[in-house]
Amino acid sequence: MRAYIIRRLLLLPLIVFLVSILTFSLVRILPGDAAVARLGAQAGACQECLDRARQELGLDKSYPEQYGKWFKGAIRGDFGLSNATTREIGPELKKRALVTLQLGTISILFTILIGVPIGVLSAVKSGRPLDYGLRLFSILGLSVPNFWLATLVVYLPVYWWTWNPAKQFKTIGEDPLSHFGLLLLPALVLAISASAYVARITRSAMLEALTSDHVRTARAKGLAEGTVILSHVFRNSLIPLLTVVGLQTGFILGGSIIIEDIFGIPGMGQMAGRAVFDRDYQTLQAVTVITTLTFVVMTLAVDIAYAWVDPRIRY
């Protein structure tokens, strides 16, 4: 177990390093020239300005040199200047990552609060109409594209009641109530398909536990059905839920690119989406590396927690 954790921990920087090289190369093949993008209309007119902009952006150097310089900064949290806004990326990214972190946390809470009860109910009432209804709900939840759901949530109220749920974003400092209020809807939208997934996992784990020997024993010794379900069945089916937390991380990081844009949440996803269209190499690189780092760390944490919670799992 310890050897496994150490091996994974050693692999972690390697993975992040490889991903950073991958994104560095990918971003370099984005069409257009960052120097031209920065200068805008001026670019065609003045070759000298273009050369100077290239130099400022470090584009005149070889790729390995550019990467080396970027890497040295990145490990200190300095991601350089944004090609689009010429502001520093680091502080902006930190601010936005915090917003996405809050969005993600609320979304995971929703996922569990919606998914687990549905899964438990579905398993306990297995084969009855309620089970079919809940399973239908899960498969619908899995099939609804979250960006479409978000679009409907934002635009239909405007059409029906001229009420717009996507309001001016407030930071915690400005207005904590409105801040969290605004995160609720996007978090819920992000949670829908994930909770459908949780419901399915919970249901099958519960069903498996329901037919196991230890549950038969618990019933045989005369425990009340509620106690059996809660402390013998439910506890054992909690393990697969851990997976979902890891899975949700990747899902939220990807989904936030669209959802944050629709709801006007100034998070990391919105930053990534804009960076692609502004040909903002530097920002895109920074966001991708941070996203990957988060995802890889979460996956590792989940794997370790898995083995810790379930002594049967040995790596």
């Binding site: 099939s143 960006f147 479409w148 990081l253 990957t292």
Partner: protein, 317 residues
């Protein structure tokens, strides 16, 4: 792509009578899996609409009409958009890119994932080491972010080199490549687990004892036993691939602006009009959701039929 952290899935044990059993199973499929049959029915309808779209409407999806932003009516079943294009036409044509990308990605992902999974899982050693690391690196980037970067960089490049007369729209090809790169490692990883489970089974040993070469064991003995897992993976990744394609088109990385696609019609500058003309948002979204639902229903029932142990552990985008 959200990757699974569950332990590798074992391949199902279906034995030598697998094929005959499946044929017999097909007869009872409708009775046993009514929801799966419903999925197949919806898929057939949607594919028919997409393939025969030109026969089902008398305008082209890019034709500019006379009536701007008309509500759904007898003339325009799904209303019209800002450019007075008929939304019914756009919705049935819009299925084409989604279905094409979905099928292409699944083909590439499952074939590529199988080959790489076989090599990694069966040969082990440094081959496994390299392939597994590659999978791990590619799996660490969320598929949408991946698709966004690759799609945005590759699309215009392919457009320039291949030109618009190429058999498949170069932008669509870029999306296929982008989504495939995101999906292949996730599929390959699960198949690798399947191969490892198969490798230690007796029939592999038996084949080796009678002197079969490694390649023969891999492709003639292990591969057929992976088929059920491949089918399940294909049917679970298809809806996810369609959703990813739609999300990319929504973000404007997909087809050129103006071409009919469900994702594209839901995103971009059309969004500003949704509060005035919600039908623009509703119909492409319903079509997309229905497609994904149909494939999910089919995938679920295939999983039930082929491998009950895989339930609830499918791929998603």
């Amino acid at each position: 792509m959200a990757t699974q952290t569950q332990p590798a899935v074992a391949t199902p044990d279906l034995g030598p009578s697998m094929i005959s059993r499946r044929w017999r199973g097909a007869r009872h499929f409708v009775r046993r899996q009514p929801l799966g049959a419903l999925g197949i029915f919806i898929i057939v309808v949607l594919v028919t609409l997409a393939v025969f779209a030109p026969l089902l409407t008398d305008v082209s999806p890019t034709d500019i009409g006379d009536d701007v932003l008309v509500e759904p009516s007898a003339d325009h079943w799904f209303g019209t958009n800002r450019a007075a294009q008929d939304m019914w036409t756009r919705v049935i044509y819009g299925g084409r890119p989604s279905l094409t990308v979905g099928l292409a990605v699944v083909l590439i992902g499952v074939i590529g994932g199988t080959v790489m999974g076989l090599l990694a899982g069966y040969l082990g050693g440094w081959v496994d080491m390299v392939i597994s690391r590659v999978f791990e690196v590619l799996n660490s980037v969320p598929s949408i972010l991946f698709g966004l970067v690759i799609g945005a960089s590759l699309g215009p490049k392919l457009d320039d080199t291949l030109g618009s007369d190429f058999i498949i729209n170069p932008r669509l090809l870029a999306i296929v490549i982008a989504v495939s790169i995101a999906f292949l490692p996730a599929i390959g990883r699960i198949l690798r687990g399947g191969v490892i489970a198969e490798r230690n089974r007796q029939y592999v040993e038996a084949a080796r004892v009678i002197g079969a070469s490694e390649t023969r064991v891999m492709f003639r003995h292990v591969l057929p036993n992976l088929l059920p897992l491949m089918i399940v993976l294909a049917s679970t990744s298809l809806p996810a691939a369609i959703l990813t394609e739609a999300a990319l088109s929504y973000l404007g990385v997909g087809l050129p602006y103006g071409d009919a696609s469900w994702g594209g019609d839901l995103g971009g500058s059309a969004r500003q009009l949704f509060s005035l003309a919600p039908w623009l948002a509703i119909f492409p979204g319903v079509a997309l959701g229905l497609t994904v639902l149909a494939f999910n229903l089919l995938g679920d029932s295939l999983r039930d039929e082929l491998d009950p142990r895989l339930r609830g552990s499918g791929l998603r985008g």
